[in-house]
Amino acid sequence: MSQAEALIDNPAGARSSGSARLDAAAKAAGAARYAGDVVLEGMAHAAVWRSPLPHALIRGARLEAARAAPGVLGVFRAEDLDAGLFGRRVRDLPVLASGKVRFVGEPVVAVVAERREQAEAAVALVEVDLDERPAVLDARRALGSAEVLVHDAPWRYEGAVVAESDGPNLQSRVRHGREEATQAALAAAEFVVDRMYRTVAGHPGYLEPQACVAQIEEDGTVQLWASDKSPYRVRQQLADTFGVDPRSVVLNPILIGGDFGGKGSPTIVPLCVALARAVGRPVRIALRYSEDLVAASPRHPATMRVRLASDGDGRLVALRLDAVIDGGAYAALKPVPTVGLHGMELVGSSYRIPNLYLDARVAYTNSVPKGHVRAPGSPQVTFAFESALDELAAKVEVDPIEIRRRNLLTTGEANPHGARFVELRGREVLEAALAAFERRSGPPGWRTGWGIGVYDRETAAGKTSIRLRSTPGGGVRAEIPVPETGTGSHTVVREGLARLLGIDRALVEVAQVSTGALPYDVGVGASRVTAGMSTVLERAAQLWSMRQGDEVVAEIDGGGDERVTSFCVQIAQVAVDPESGEVRVLELLSALDCAEVLHPAAHRMQIDGGAVMGFGFACLEDLRIEDGQVWAANLGEFRLASSRDAPPLKTVLVTGSRGLGALDVKSVGELTNVPVAAAIANALAAATGVRLRELPITAERVHGALARRGEP
């Protein structure tokens, strides 16, 4: 047990009684440890010089002043570190820029010093000679012209999904469906809506800035404590790129202060390892929040053209989505095989659409590399689709509720992407939302209205493992590979195991263990942890009942043949001040279907927190990337919803769904942040006739739209 483990011991509440969340006592007492709290003997601190230009050649650097600064142990450029290219799928990301810089904020020089302030002071003394080049800042322009190339030969990168024959600045392209049939159906349809919708980049908004501590042991073993929610995957990336055995890289258990998709990317971990090796001492990198905003994995902005068509009764006949998505300067932060946005590729999944075609291109641009953020692609495309559906309803002169009733899938049908689920409860969830809905009044003189958004998301399990050990007094200890990012996963495991074994939850301990102690886990994300852990617990419980010794290890790869999906219907009520354009959300109602809920408080907070985050996406958040630069570079400018900003919430649970496995569970983490923007945009249109097709929805935009109509 290394000296650091004692600092990251399982919190005091590990064996707490009752149903209280496992880590609650420690968190409330300030005893919970995160990567930024890890202190190792001899630990040094790193800080980074970042490019002020979006595209430039690195001609040279003058580092003497930095090297001579107090406390400095080393100043490093790319060529000084023995590190290759990183990426979750496409390996195009250097730990420090080499040869050229491709976005404002890209790390170029790293300084290691005894104290953090010393490292930062030395960074201010670094001088880098940059030869500025024209930058390509617009995704559409990047795809349309080879005049400025972010990467000269992106097809050469390991994991690349593009070919030399593909157009310029392409990170990925996903096309599926039937193009000809869809075009024909659009042409023949009685009613068609053809509209462009746009969304902007937003930071995941976790309140713990990224942090990593790396310590290299005598035998070369790398010990890491990192705010990274996919420890086995980052281990593999480090092993691949540094050319070492994965077992020589250990990710130690640590709490994570919020993830939302932003803490799986290799933005600082590889650099931290390289620096620790270079200086021969443990090194901590802890980003300042402004660095996180400027240089770490925000949501992809998208411009989406939706062509949606129906017959005279409002029954959908065709959907075509053409999306141009800004992936930023590197593709490295996207983990899925298509290097696209999964949610984008599932557009229209809740509905019966006989002809569907989508073409989603992700472009390289000279701006911050974009990553996965809670339900990647879904809030963007759901805003577009659900808005288009309301616009279509208006054309057909059918009520927006009725058009959804006519088109929502029911159990037994395949969805338009060919997936078959055990049940489809969209209609029920819609009716439940409507039944619970009560009009609220707005301030005098304001116009009110309400609108709807619909979304469904499949529950996945993924590949994972677990160890069970007996403890004195007839108890069981579950050792799991999953970091607790805040979702309550560890408490879910305790509950699930107690139920499966038929024992009191007070007899169950749960602890995350280091990567060396278990075979694998695919990482937190895609809302898979509850289902993944439940499925592997089921297997483990079976093995436990047949065990010979004191422990068992179980592994699974996926959740089985049956597929389940959950529907979320949101109704937003807004009041609009016609003179200023101010939009106030009077209530945001979320109705969703669920199966067994293992940890009701966490389930509730995923719903509430998701709804508030969706509200932020709809109305508040914009990193304001202009001239390739993030202008909202602190939390005073990039506004996260406070308790006063958050709209009043109402939740309707439609229970009795079928979940996965013996524990009968479904995911909930990436549902309620998705349809919010469409619900608010639709409500705004109902209240004022103003249709905003660009996010965020701001008073100024509403005011402008009303003024163009000659109002008030």
Partner: protein, 280 residues
């Protein structure tokens, strides 16, 4: 850490000194290396800078070391110039308000702040003391430019004086259409004096967040004094407000939007003051 005002003035003389009230605004600049003073002069422990007192002439003298939180709650402030308490209670967040001082707030001279337009509308003055003595400066003459005051290097604000106001109705409206805790898109402060028979005897209106400094709008008294506050009169107020606004584009709105909102919210503030109804 000076214990008296004269000691503070001495410490501030010459180059390289930085005066601190609560240190919230300066803390940011210090941490980011945007200011690099040779010495910090802490004004927080000077007893003479504390306290809120009513003078024999009915004026309210507020010590510069008064925190925004204290200002928001003080019974004399609430009684005599409630808009000042309101502005103080809406600024930033509870932690900033607990520490930020009136003197530091004014010394910072950030045009997005809530208190300056209120002080302009109330006709307040600042007592400023340097090695050479004390002078009374009207707020408009104190806040001379973007993040710039007319203070000499050795001077500090020792108090703010709000004159006696009888029959005055003061309102502060803070328009924050996006996030409630952000700086306002526009802040409007109004002070009207109304005779018992309802006639408007005087009116002052100031805007925050739409110019390099908080700005007192000209022409408001002309539009309202001795008049019936008709639609045309209010439109004149709106036009005067829009003309005084020279905003810039930022997170809180484009220049054009802020300008339009200056007019709208000026009228709303006047209506609130005249109607006697409580502001939003």
């Amino acid at each position: 850490m000076p214990a008296t005002v004269p000691e503070a003035c001495q410490a501030l003389t010459g180059d390289g000194a930085l005066a601190l009230g609560g240190g919230t605004a300066m803390g940011l600049l210090l941490r980011n290396g945007l200011v690099e003073p040779e010495r910090l002069v802490w004004l927080g422990r000077i007893a003479a800078l504390g306290g809120i007192a009513v003078g024999t002439d009915g004026s309210l003298r507020i010590g510069a070391a008064t925190t925004l939180a204290e200002l928001a709650r003080h019974p004399e402030v609430l009684r005599r110039c409630a808009s000042l308490a309101r502005a103080a209670s809406g600024a930033a967040n509870p932690r900033i308000r607990a520490v930020a001082t009136l003197g530091g707030h004014l010394g910072h001279a950030d045009p997005r702040q809530d208190l300056p337009p209120v002080l302009l509308a109330l006709g307040a003055s600042a007592e400023v003391t340097g090695v050479g003595g004390t002078r009374l400066v009207e707020i408009a003459d104190l806040l001379v430019g973007f993040m710039e005051t007319s203070l000499a290097p050795d001077e500090l604000i020792t108090s703010v004086v709000v004159p006696e106001r009888v029959g005055r109705r003061d309102v502060y409206l803070r328009y924050t259409p996006n996030s409630h805790d952000d700086y306002p898109t526009v802040g409007v402060a109004v002070d009207v004096s109304v005779a018992p028979d309802g006639r408007v005897m005087g009116a002052r209106l100031a805007l925050g967040g739409v110019a390099p400094t908080a700005v007192l709008v000209e022409g408001v008294a002309d539009a309202l004094v001795g008049r019936a506050a008709s639609a045309a009169d209010l439109e004149a107020v709106a036009e005067a407000a829009r003309s005084s606004a020279t905003p810039v584009d930022d997170q809180r709105g484009s220049a054009a939007y802020k300008q339009a909102m200056s007019g709208l919210w000026a009228v709303r503030a006047v209506r609130a003051a005249l109607g006697g109804a409580d502001e939003r």
